[in-house]
């Protein structure tokens, strides 16, 4: 997929670029409004990661430009402001999602993947990884063509891992993804452990290899061993 990252904080931009750069991805970046505007005029992207607070212009105006150009690029707004109004006006202007700083790169990637999937939707919305395939529209998971039943949380977890193949995903990131704000009630991650254990068991029992690795108690990695 082709991604444009618009972010004025260079070290953050650098991290995002590193995280997204992998086989099959083309990542470009812009750190000013002008550079970003130039790029969206010239090229098309599967997804644009847009920081609202740019030094030389309001990020929301880029959305207006996109609309004027009648482009169908997916847009994910990244903002330091946890503001309902910003979020609503961003989504009104055609953004696909809204993420508040600070965020986990894995969360960002999962959201971008979801946007790209939606945009590229051609009636056949299936994520496949070796013998595992997930039909997003039907919310069905199958291993070697055989459908397995997952709970909502296990399903979300699997999609999250699939979007972050080969990356170490921290427990904090998973917790935030699955529970959001309620999670500050309990800081221990036993819940995650239970769900991961169940997911892993179901997949292995259906005949797939064990792709989940625990990484020194800090998180998990899903991918070819």
């Amino acid at each position: 997929m082709k991604i444009l990252i618009v972010e004025d904080e260079l070290s953050l931009l650098d991290s995002m670029l590193t995280y997204f750069t992998e086989v099959g991805n083309i990542c470009e970046s812009a750190s000013t409004y002008l550079a970003a505007s130039e790029k969206i005029n010239l090229y098309s992207y599967d997804c644009i990661l847009l920081d609202l607070g740019l030094p030389d212009g309001e990020g929301l105006n880029l959305l207006k430009e996109l609309k004027k150009l009648k482009k169908n690029d997916g847009v994910l707004i990244i903002s330091a402001r946890h503001s309902l109004d910003d979020k609503l006006s961003g989504l009104d202007l055609g953004a696909d999602d809204y993420l508040v700083k600070p965020f986990h790169l894995s969360e960002l990637k999962a959201r971008v993947a979801a946007i790209v999937r939606r945009k590229k939707f051609d009636g056949n919305n299936v994520i496949t990884f070796n013998e595992i395939s997930v039909d997003i529209t039907k919310m069905e998971t199958s291993v070697k063509g055989q459908i397995i039943t997952l709970t909502k949380k296990e399903y979300d977890l699997l999609i999250y891992f699939l979007s972050n193949k080969g990356k170490v995903v921290t427990k904090n990131a998973i917790a935030e993804h699955l529970w959001g704000d309620e999670m500050d009630i309990s800081d221990d991650f036993d819940f995650i452990y239970t769900h991961i254990k169940n997911l892993r068991k179901k997949i292995i029992e259906a005949g797939a290899s064990d792709y989940l690795q625990s990484v020194y108690g800090i998180g998990y990695k899903f991918g070819n061993v």
Binding site: E9, S11, L12, S15, M16, T18, Y19, A80, R81, H82, L84, D85, V100, K101, P102, F103, H104, L105, S106, K167, V168, T170, K171, N172, A173, W179, D181, E182, D184, I185, S186, D187, D190, F191, V215, Y216, G217, I218, G219
Partner: protein, 418 residues
């Protein structure tokens, strides 16, 4: 004691003392003047008698006039001559009663005889006059005093009206609600000055408060980007290659710290937003529905902590922000879970005008201080903002939140209608 009362009291006491002193002086002076006059009259009489004796070589008849009596008394040859005035009694033959009188007692030589002559005049008239004058003066002064008090009471009240108006406004002044102090119209310079000072002070306070809030807002926002950088760098570091277990633990600690800092920032921003009434999605919130949803969300945690949940829900719809209703319940329920013990219980009672959350927990009562920002008990793991947020939300919508502790149970009650 009110200013007017104090003023009245001082006024009254001073007036009374002055009145008393002037009354005494007045009485003494008038009395003195009348006695002088009587004495002069008596002297004239004495002169007449002496003239009569000189002309006719005999005493005039001891006569009794309307208000004057003359008496003679033969003295011994050896007695000394004397002359003095004296207060005596005067027998009024017409009225047949004794009256206060003034006498001149003098001696007179007629031929070889020495006579003592007593000329007595009635003092009654003079005394009456003094009394009347005194009474009139007293009456007038009392009337004056009375009218002064009345004027003070009613006029002062009217005069002080602008003052009380300003006072009322200052009492009602609420920084959080950004209320204003209006300029009252008054002709009195002092009140004008007070008014403008109050208005200016309110303006300055509001300005300062606004700046402080803006500072919190900006500081919190500015912190989010560096936090995002740290977080992303950690995420990147984690991908960079094999890490040791020790490094993993260290990184987890950093993640947790970032998490806490983020939550803290978000809570502070939320507080500022509620204070500024910047949350606008006000709608009719069906609390029954929200609570049912929340209970579903909390199910896993409840199960893990072995907590039993009792819910009694009655229909309850409240006009407020859906977002804040969610946060309110999240915090209330979150606290009930967090400060509970295993195998404890949580009871949620929802009625059409209140919600009550009772939970078992540690055996100590909370104080009002727990509603302050950053106040937390020694055993608390939170940031100390949860209750502050609850309180702020309740303040915004004029709900009242009360806490009670009985039989080791904590109970939070939010009354929606006051």
């Amino acid at each position: 004691m009110k200013l007017a009362d104090r003023y009245n009291r001082v006024n009254l006491i001073t007036a009374l003392i002055v009145l008393l002193i002037t009354g005494i002086i007045y009485y003494v002076v008038i009395h003195f003047i009348f006695t002088e006059k009587l004495d002069r009259d008596l002297t004239v009489e004495e002169d007449e008698i002496k003239q009569y004796v000189a002309t006719y070589q005999k005493l005039p008849l001891p006569a009794s006039f309307l208000d004057q009596q003359v008496q003679y008394k033969l003295l011994n040859r050896d007695d000394k001559e004397s002359r003095f005035f004296k207060n005596t009694t005067y027998y009024n033959s017409k009225e047949k009663e004794s009256e206060p009188g003034r006498s001149l007692i003098t001696t007179l030589v007629q031929g070889n005889n020495l006579y003592e002559v007593t000329i007595t005049k009635s003092r009654l008239e003079a005394d009456d006059l003094v009394q009347i004058i005194l009474l009139i003066t007293l009456g007038v002064t009392c009337l004056l005093l009375l009218s002064l008090i009345l004027i003070n009471r009613f006029v002062l009240k009217r005069l002080w009206m602008p003052f009380y108006a300003i006072l009322e406004q200052m009492k009602a002044f609420n920084l959080v609600k950004m209320s204003e102090i209006k300029l009252n119209s008054t002709d009195v310079d002092e009140f004008k000055e007070l008014n403008t000072s109050a208005v200016q002070m309110a303006l300055r306070v509001r300005q300062d408060y606004k700046e402080l809030k803006n500072f919190t807002d900006n500081a919190s926002h500015e912190m989010m980007t560096p936090l995002a950088v740290i977080n992303s760098k950690l995420d990147t570091l984690l991908q960079a290659g094999p890490i040791t277990e020790r490094q993993g633990v260290l990184m987890e600690d950093i993640y947790n710290a970032i998490n806490r800092l983020t939550k803290l920032n978000q809570s502070l921003l939320l507080l500022t937003k509620i204070e500024n009434n910047l949350i606008s999605d006000v709608q009719l919130v069906d609390f029954r529905e929200v609570i049912t949803e929340k209970c579903r969300q909390f199910q896993e945690i409840l199960k893990k902590e072995n907590l039993s949940l009792n819910i009694n829900l009655k229909p309850c719809e409240i006009e407020m922000s859906r977002y804040l209703a969610d946060i309110l319940l999240n915090n209330l329920l979150g606290n009930a879970v967090k400060y509970n013990h295993t195998k404890g219980f949580i009871t949620i009672n929802l009625d059409n005008d209140f919600i009550e959350i009772i939970n078992s927990g540690k055996n100590f009562s909370l104080t009002d201080q727990h509603f302050d920002r950053f106040f937390k008990s020694a055993s608390s793991e939170g940031m100390g903002l949860g209750l502050a947020i609850i309180k702020q939300i309740c303040t915004l919508y004029n709900f009242s939140v009360t806490y009670s502790f009985f039989q080791e149970n904590h109970c939070f009650k939010v009354l929606f209608k006051n």
